[in-house]
């Protein structure tokens, strides 16, 4: 029997109940009835992941379509940190220990500390997968995939990395690929993003690959694939529930080089053998350290690079999974010869006597020498006019008396005094010829400025002038002895000494310009860009590619040379190899090419070091014959140009001249190549010690 007071109190309970239910309804309406889209967006960020797929980079091929840089798949074990963050700390630690133990047991030694460090690695964005082990065998992939429950947040990914079928071949100018850094990312943001031919942007994300150095860098925009996107749905543990949207990646375009792999391999092999055979020997001015060396072979008339060898080299495959600081330092250590450097365009050397055609042309143009006025009696030394004292006498190498020399012979036997006289006459009459007639010709030939080759990192070398010296002194008086330019400076500049510096590439371009009678082409290492029609077939297979872009020869200047001058220079360069007392005649007889080669040797003196050995020239060489190969060889601290550089040049071009160039060896076929390599090394040993400097 309920009293009325009980009924009142019960009503109170009822009112409270109604209020509570009302509160629930109001809140529910607020969540679901008012703008539910705001929650939809929030749940999407939860469960939807946009996966950016970089896609395979374009390949790098040689002029004949052989693949020099390819792609391969590597299996990477990585952490997906979102689900890992939701675990309790001890659970997560247990997963890491389990993962490290399991990987180690399966033959991929992994430390727990490494996994933990990677988990905390701030360089990766929270959404990104962080790799903990790469180059993982396929059975590990299977093992982990089957035990997803045991390893929450552990993903196994297949990534595409570079592969190098020819190992270290052409490593420096091909460059390598690494993870994109912040500066590089900034450089391709917004409008600067590279685009495919149809305009599709090739967007980047942190962690993507990016060309570092060489072709990989200069042709980044071409080689990069159009990335794909996958929108997937995942559950709370990061497991895939389904795919909502997919755009496949489109591979990057293939880049064809003008390089002939066979010639490249041959040049690299001989250069390496030569340098190894030199090292440790005693030369005139000290030990032959030969810390580095380079060879450039250009096709005159197009400017295409046929081979570009730089020693020492490295195998870029060691860089595909990232570069450790140690490795980076090793590759840039001067004591190792800086293997990452492409000395052919990053090294600058005194050209020595190889510079003489430049001085000759200046003298010829000035009229200091000319038809009927070109003979000079070389007494071995040259004394400046109106000058007294020890510093007034300049001499030939070894004070050698060369007797009566004309322009051609001055090149063939490498008379220095001939050029000293030219230089002094022009300097004394500078009211008439200007302060720097020799330097002007050098600049016309492209010295002292980057050649504009389609490779990054090129240095400009140096063509010294009185103005330049004054400016340098005024801006930094403590460093330089004087801001004045003396007669002697012009004199030593005339034989490529003093402050003159050229890169091996500039040297090759200089001789290519002479070879074509004065037409200067921009050196090019890329010949065309293609897209494969059937990606499964070899990219260089005729008929399996469409051409996206063709690189045409580009004339960048003309150097005026009259026929009289040209024929004399030609005769001089031929005399270097063909005349009995030519500076490279003995080397030539020891290893001749099938057609005649001509060129100029150079032995440049460097203070406190052994001489640099140089040679530059071309073949076939004869009036009215089209030159095919222009070569420059530069090896510092190596001795005489005629002994060291010239024979190397002949041996490099010999098989090209008679069509016996050995096929370049892939790593897979390395065994068959050992013989060729050791015979090349043997031949190089026999070359040393013939003529004299010059």
């Amino acid at each position: 029997m309920n009293t009325s007071s009980t009924q009142v109190r019960l009503s109170g309970i009822g009112i409270v109940a109604v209020c509570l239910f009302a509160a629930l309804f109001v809140r529910l309406w607020f969540l679901q009835g008012v703008d539910p889209q705001r929650f939809e967006a929030a749940t999407e960020s939860n469960r939807l992941r946009v996966i950016h797929e970089e896609g395979p980079r374009g390949r790098i091929l040689d002029r004949n379509g052989r693949v020099l840089v390819d792609n391969r798949t590597t299996i990477v074990v990585a952490l997906d940190r979102e689900p890992l963050r939701r675990l309790e700390e001890d659970e997560r630690a247990a997963v890491f220990v389990d993962l490290a133990d399991t990987l180690t047991e399966l033959g991929v030694p992994t430390k727990v500390s490494t996994v933990e460090r990677r988990y905390g690695d701030v360089r990766y964005s929270p959404q990104e997968y962080v790799p903990v082990a790469d180059e993982v065998p396929e059975d590990v992939e299977l093992y982990l995939a089957e035990r997803a429950d045991r390893f929450p947040g552990v993903v196994v990914e297949r990534r595409t990395v570079r592969s190098y079928p020819y190992g270290s071949l052409a490593a420096q100018f091909v460059g390598y690929v690494g993870e994109v850094n912040e500066d590089e990312l900034a450089s391709v943001e917004g409008e600067a993003v590279p685009r495919a031919q149809d305009g599709t942007p090739k967007e980047y994300q942190p962690g993507d690959s990016f060309g570092k150095g060489g072709i990989e860098s200069s042709e980044e925009a071409t080689l990069r694939a159009v990335p794909g996107r996958r929108t997937i749905e995942v559950n709370a543990r990061g497991e895939l529930l389904g795919e909502l949207e997919r755009t496949d990646a489109r591979p990057g375009d293939d880049v064809w080089l003008s390089i002939d792999l066979d010639l490249q391999a041959h040049a690299e092999r001989l250069l390496a053998a030569k340098i190894r055979s030199l090292r440790g020997r005693e030369g005139g001015e000290g030990t032959l350290n030969a810390p580095q060396g380079s060879v450039v072979v250009i096709e005159p008339g197009t400017g295409q690079i046929l081979a570009m060898a730089s020693y020492p080299s490295y195998n870029p495959s060691i860089l595909v999974n990232g570069i450790s600081t140690d490795l980076w330092e090793q590759l840039n250590d001067p004591n190792n010869g800086r293997p990452l450097y492409n000395w052919a365009l990053q090294g600058a050397y005194a050209p020595g006597s190889t510079f003489k055609p430049v001085t000759a042309l200046a003298g010829w143009r000035a009229g200091v020498i000319g038809p009927g006025n070109e003979e000079y009696d070389d007494a071995g030394t040259y004394r400046l006019q109106n000058c007294e004292g020890a510093g007034c006498t300049f001499q030939n190498a070894g004070r050698k008396k060369l007797g009566t020399v004309d322009l051609a012979r001055s090149l063939a036997v490498s008379s220095d005094t001939y050029y000293y006289r030219l230089a002094e006459l022009m300097w004394l009459n500078r009211w008439q010829f200007g302060d720097h007639p020799i330097q002007d010709v050098a600049t016309e030939f492209g010295l002292g400025a980057p050649t504009g080759i389609d490779l990054p990192g090129e240095t400009s070398g140096r063509v010294p002038t009185p103005e330049q010296r004054r400016a340098a002194f005024e801006s930094n008086p403590e460093v330089f002895l004087t801001g004045d330019w003396f007669t002697g400076d012009t004199v030593i500049t005339s034989i490529g000494q003093g402050d003159v510096l050229v890169t091996p590439l500039q040297l090759a371009e200089l001789y290519a310009t002479i070879a074509t009678g004065g037409v200067r082409y921009r050196p090019q290492v890329i010949s065309q860009v293609t897209r494969p029609i059937d990606p499964a077939e070899p990219p260089g297979e005729p008929g399996n590619f469409e051409v996206v872009r063709t690189v045409t020869p580009e004339e960048v200047g003309r150097v005026e040379m009259d026929d009289d001058f040209y024929l004399r220079v030609l005769a001089g360069l031929i005399g270097v190899t063909q005349e009995e007392d030519g500076t490279a005649s003995r080397s030539w007889s020891a290893s001749p090419t099938a057609w005649t080669m001509g060129g100029k040797t150079g032995t440049a003196q460097v203070a406190g070091k052994a001489d640099s050995a140089l040679f530059a020239g071309w073949g076939p060489i004869a009036a009215g014959v089209d030159p095919e190969y222009v070569i420059s060889v530069v090896i510092p601290e190596a001795g005489f140009g005629g002994d060291v550089a010239a024979p190397l040049a002949f041996r490099i071009l010999a098989p090209a001249s008679d069509g016996t160039l050995p096929t370049a060896c892939t790593i897979a076929a390395a065994g068959q190549c050992r013989e060729a390599e050791s015979s090349a090394a043997q031949a190089s040993l026999n070359d040393v010690g013939s003529g004299g400097p010059g």
């Binding site: 309920n2 019960l10 309970i13 679901q32 559950n235």
Partner: protein, 373 residues
């Protein structure tokens, strides 16, 4: 009803207005059935991602059948006869609460609140709630006015399970005891002055407990995260995302992305409401709320119609228990109540809760059915 009538012997007894079987609250039974079916569907959706064999649903169904049976038996027994046994039942409840604190109990998520019997986990607090309701109803129902001594006695009956559940520690259940106890005290006729003192003491006690460090950090955090939404925990955040994104009509059964992806932790138990919110939207959530509202209303109505004070208090206890469970469970999912692990009656997955809820409804039915006898 038809069947019962056919089974009953002809004549006098079938027309007996006092026959309890004629006074079953059909609306209550129907509402419970509706909520139950709704709950089974939601459990199915919440568990199918890690349970292809539907083990959760089948286990839940098993307890539902057992629950219906228990409720039927309890409703047919006169609640007054049950109330006569209150001391024994209360003692059993307390012993079970003590026992679960010993090594006999199993620790789950840091709380020692379960007995593990093979595949079945028994949560004694769920049954202790019923025993306590029964005890207080019987203790206070026998007097017309609650004097201070009675009040003290009732508070004692209430205090023991509160302290024991706090020791587990199970803050949610302790709160349930306090709320249902308060409700019963109010209806039992405790003087307003005494109630005022009690409420004041309660508030002081809460403040002391919060500041004394007697609660584990995670519990304080849960309570305070509700007060300051910035520090909202992952669970609450995901729960609100799920419910909010359901919109008016929801994604449809098994189509809720949050549910499918398992983003809401404890979804089949404490956060079961997120499933209806996401997959059936405001319409479905409202329907479930209405059904639950009907259950509460019918329990409250049974209290009103009860033949005596014990019956009234019994129903008030059950009403307050359900009301608090519903408000706390749903309120936590939609972010207006702190997070405590309290099941949603007849919906959340869990045998003890389901069974206890059915027994509670059975008691209410008994009060309702025996009001004329």
């Amino acid at each position: 009803m038809t069947l019962e009538r056919a089974a009953a012997p002809p004549g006098f007894r079938s027309r007996n207005l006092g026959d309890p079987r004629r006074h079953v609250d059909v609306v209550l039974a129907a509402a419970v059935a509706g909520v139950l079916v709704f709950g089974l569907v939601l459990v199915y959706s919440a568990t199918r991602r890690f349970d292809d064999g539907n083990g959760y649903v089948l286990r839940q169904l098993f307890f539902a059948v057992a629950g219906v049976g228990a409720a039927t038996v309890v409703s047919l027994v006169d609640y007054r006869k049950v109330a006569d046994w209150w001391q024994a039942l209360y003692a059993v409840g307390v012993v079970m609460l003590v026992g679960v604190l010993t090594p006999l109990g199993t620790v789950v998520n840091g709380t020692s609140g379960w007995y593990r019997l093979g595949p079945i986990a028994l949560q004694p607090a769920e049954f202790a709630k019923l025993a306590t309701i029964l005890a207080i109803a019987a203790y206070l129902g026998s007097v017309d006015e609650v004097d201070l001594r009675r009040l003290a006695g009732a508070l004692g009956l209430l205090g023991v399970p509160v302290v024991l559940t706090l020791l587990q520690p199970d803050l949610g259940s302790a709160l349930v005891f306090i709320v249902l106890g308060m409700g019963m005290l109010v209806v039992a006729g405790v003087r307003m002055k005494h109630l005022g003192v009690l409420v004041t003491l309660g508030i002081v006690a809460i403040l002391v407990i919060l500041n004394s460090g007697a609660l584990d950090d995670y519990q304080t955090e849960r309570l305070t995260s509700f007060v300051s939404p910035d520090g909202q925990s992952y669970n609450v955040d995901q729960a609100q995302k799920a419910i909010g994104s359901g919109g008016l009509t929801g994604f449809g059964l098994t189509n809720g992305p949050q549910t499918r992806g398992g983003y809401v932790p404890e979804q089949q138990t404490d956060f079961i409401f997120t499933v209806v919110g996401e997959e059936f939207g405001f319409v479905g959530s409202s329907l479930l709320l209405v059904l639950l509202g009907v259950v509460v209303w019918r329990c409250w109505r049974a209290a009103q119609l009860a033949a005596d004070q014990t019956g009234t208090l019994l129903c008030v206890g059950v009403t307050c228990m359900f009301l608090f469970h519903i408000f706390e469970n749903i309120g936590m999912a939609i972010g207006i109540m702190p997070v405590t692990g309290i099941p949603l009656p007849f919906v959340s997955y869990g045998g003890s809760s389901l069974l206890a809820s059915f027994v509670a409804v059975g008691l209410v039915q008994s009060v309702h059915m025996h009001r004329f006898s």
